[in-house]
Amino acid sequence: MSMLHTVNKSPFASPTLASCLAHAVDGAAVLLIEDGVYAALAAGSFAPTLAAEARRLRLYVLAPDLAARGFADAALVAGVKMVDYEGFVDLAAAHSVVQAWF
């Protein structure tokens, strides 16, 4: 069973997401939470990087963290799926290992 990675830092302020993506193997799941959700904005300058990674990783973003930051209805990078807290739990349960990048 593949890994779930969680990332809680903005890609504009920290290399945390870049390091996660560099270490995530094909087929792994990456869930963007807290300030990590800024990476998923389609209009942002990190979007091309994330769109490329969506071809080999399963990418998720936590909806309440997007909403809190004013982006409930924002366009997201193609291939990134929104999940709620229940979806977060499902992801954690479905993967044998969870690694938190922070």
């Binding site: 800024y38 909806a63 309440p64 963290d65 809190a68 930051r69 004013g70 409930a72």
Partner: protein
Amino acid sequence: MAHKKILFVNRKAPYGTAAACETLEAALIAAAFDQEVHLAFLDDGVFQLVKHQQPAALGLKGFTEGFLDLAEYDIDHVWVEAESLAERGLSEHDLMIPVALLDRAAMAALMNNADLVFSA
């Protein structure tokens, strides 16, 4: 107290740390002491001003609606770095209050001309 031009430099996103909330509080206090308060937003700090934030989604009360009350504190110098907005796919229309846009060089000059800089 001598009247000083105090620049509050906001570089952090609103909820990941307490820095943004605490900087706003400090700015309001400085304004209450009749100082010339300037607020600068650059890097992830521009996310503080994004419209339609719903902190209740996280069970938080939120603080950014405080930016709507800046005029009541006679704070009318709000500067936003254009490059920081553009990198994040934002424009001034995505922000909750009217701001003055500066390019990076002008932001550097603003910092250089302050009597005091409070950065977070």
